[in-house]
């Protein structure tokens, strides 16, 4: 066979190798998600400092609000609500810094180059980050609730545990999807991304009705319930875990659950667009995906 013939034979063989069946693609996507979740779940616990940051940090913020409430003679149910809010806050903080801000770190460390040139897809990477982050934060949230309950005697009356679990899952999923949407903004912002993260922290805690019901914010509360996953998640979880505070909820739990579901779908679609934008713009301008030389 001529050299040209060998070459075309090779091309045909290579082309055939690039044909992946649907099952191969699905398996690959699942493997990629697991692969990316792995450093989040197992890597993070290898630094001894995680104990400090995962235990002390969240507890400090929680304690400040608890003592503020106690100094003003608030009902003990609000102490329990504050502890629950602190647990939920860990997920929100993770969404800002470990989802939205994470792609910038991946770019600066050179990982983004490897992800783009691998057949993995940024969607799988993002999903892996979300899953890994959620698992890690779930542990942190559990410690906060346990610690808060031991320190301050918080008590909960959960009549519908499955509904509470569903609310929490949907809330986390919607928040992470929003985080991926924001990833493009963070990447484009460059160094200003740190400032963006700060903007999304405390102001969103207020708008999200974490430590005070979103109902008290009036029209801003309504807006928040409509666009910020934190708001319906916090409001619904408070009503479900503390029935005595149900009257402080802005909307009934089923409605808020529905809002979370819609948010999840909308933000998931937007996050898909966000990732496509990141790749498209990055390949076009040559700056977004690779760190400056």
């Amino acid at each position: 066979m001529s050299a040209a013939g060998v070459s075309k034979d090779l091309h045909a063989r290579i082309y055939a190798e690039t044909e992946w069946s649907l099952s191969h693609k699905l398996r690959h996507a699942a493997q990629s998600v697991v692969g990316r979740a792995y450093p989040r779940i197992f890597g993070m616990s290898r630094e001894p400092s995680w104990l400090f940051f995962d235990l002390v940090f969240p507890t400090l913020g929680m304690c400040s609000f608890v003592f503020l409430l106690r100094s003003r003679g608030a009902d003990e149910a609000w102490i329990s609500a504050t502890i629950l809010a602190s647990a939920l806050l860990t997920f929100w903080t993770s969404v800002i810094w470990m989802m939205a801000g994470q792609f910038r770190w991946e770019r600066d460390s050179g990982n983004m180059t490897l992800y783009i040139t691998a057949p993995v897809g940024l969607g799988s990477i993002a999903l892996g980050m979300a899953v890994g982050g959620a698992v890690g934060m779930a542990f942190r949230a559990g410690i906060i609730i346990l610690g808060g309950s031991l320190l301050f005697g918080a008590q909960y009356e959960i009549r519908e545990p499955l509904l509470l679990a569903l609310t929490m899952l949907l809330g986390i999923a919607a928040m992470n999807a929003l985080g991926v949407c924001l990833a493009a903004v963070f990447l484009v912002s460059g160094r200003e991304a740190d400032h963006l993260g700060d903007l999304l922290n405390e102001p969103m805690q207020l708008l999200g009705g974490l430590f005070a019901p979103v109902r008290s914010l009036g029209i801003f509360g309504l807006l928040a319930i409509g666009i910020l996953p934190l708001a319906p998640a916090a409001d619904a979880m408070r009503q479900l875990a503390l029935p005595q505070l149900a009257a402080t909820g802005l909307l009934p739990v089923p409605v808020e659950l529905g809002i979370l579901a819609v948010m999840f779908v909308v933000f998931s679609l937007l996050s898909h667009a966000s990732l496509a934008y990141i790749e498209r713009r990055g390949r076009a301008d040559g700056k977004l995906l690779t760190r400056a030389d």
Binding site: F67, L199, E202, A212, S216
Partner: protein
């Protein structure tokens, strides 16, 4: 050709007579130059002056969001009244300066080591890292002070009761001199501790600031805390600083034990605390930097 022998020049490297600031390298003029240069750099980096949106975020949006959070929580307890608003507004405003000054030196050292990779070059100059750290802390505190004024202004608009006849300016001047001095000292010492750590060190100043926030009576009276924590809180200069500002602006003392102490006693405690910290801080800084140098953390990035 024979070389003429010459006796080597004798240089006494142990003499400290030319270094009146003890652990500082160089002399006072070097230190002042370094401090000013560092302050100018910090003003450019930290101020966001070229980015109006982010200026807005740090000077106004974020501080007011914090305030809003605390006031919203107060409203839960049915305790949203002028006195409680004043208490929280002043505490929150001043604590911004505390947080900024505590985190400033650490972030400056870590920025120079991890992001800009210039710390080895600064260290190799005849100047000391101490005035560099102080310069960064002072500017961060100054920028936070601008924000504090805005918060107090907003507080006045929403019903914070000001002292009859206006602020007690002499008292305000004294506490606003002593307080920042003590907090910059603490920040510098904390920076020297954190520079001995890996990249995770970014989070420790925030944790320390969070602990101080809990203990210094910023948003709730000290008496709310368990007894042991009250004693720790009482040992912190910022507790007395915030109380001094409250008395100067609001004309009333805080509820609880702290409020029962006289203003002269408050000033005495604040002065003693500040003097102790400003004397100890340079030493602690030097020890920390030397240890970081031993471990090799001054000249290499430790980011994981």
């Amino acid at each position: 050709m024979q070389m003429e022998s010459c006796s080597p020049v004798q240089i006494d490297l142990t003499s400290r007579t030319s270094r009146p600031f003890g652990p500082l390298r160089g002399n006072a003029a070097d230190a002042a130059r370094s401090l000013i240069a560092s302050a100018r750099l910090a003003w450019a980096i930290e101020g966001n002056w070229a980015e109006p949106f982010f200026l807005l975020v740090y000077l106004i949006i974020r501080p007011l969001a914090f305030l809003g959070l605390f006031l919203a929580v107060l409203s839960i307890g049915g305790a949203l009244n002028p006195a409680s608003i004043g208490f929280v507004v002043v505490g929150q405003a001043i604590f911004q300066i505390v947080g900024a000054a505590m985190q400033g030196p650490t972030h400056a050292l870590l920025d120079d080591r991890e992001r800009y990779r210039t710390i080895r070059y600064i260290f190799a100059t005849p100047s000391s890292l101490l005035p560099v750290s102080i310069g960064r802390a002072l500017v961060k505190a100054l920028i936070a002070a601008i924000s504090a004024v805005i918060v107090i202004g907003v507080g006045a608009l929403i019903g914070m009761p000001m002292r009859a006849g206006g602020p007690d300016l002499p008292l305000l001047l004294v506490v606003m001199t002593l307080g920042p001095a003590s907090i910059v000292g603490l920040g510098v010492a904390l920076g020297a501790v954190c520079v001995q750590l890996r990249n995770d060190a970014w989070g420790y100043p925030q944790a320390v600031a969070g602990s101080v926030f809990l203990l210094c009576g910023a948003i709730f009276p000290l008496d709310t805390l368990p007894r042991a924590l009250q004693l720790i809180g009482a040992a912190l200069p910022m507790t007395w600083w915030i109380e001094g500002v409250r008395r100067a602006l609001l004309g009333t003392a805080s509820p609880g034990l702290l409020g029962e102490l006289s203003t002269p006693l408050l000033l005495l405690v604040l002065t003693v605390g500040t003097v102790l910290i400003t004397l100890a801080a340079p030493r602690l800084f030097r020890i920390g930097i030397d240890r970081a140098r031993e471990k090799g953390f001054l000249d290499r990035s430790t980011a994981s």
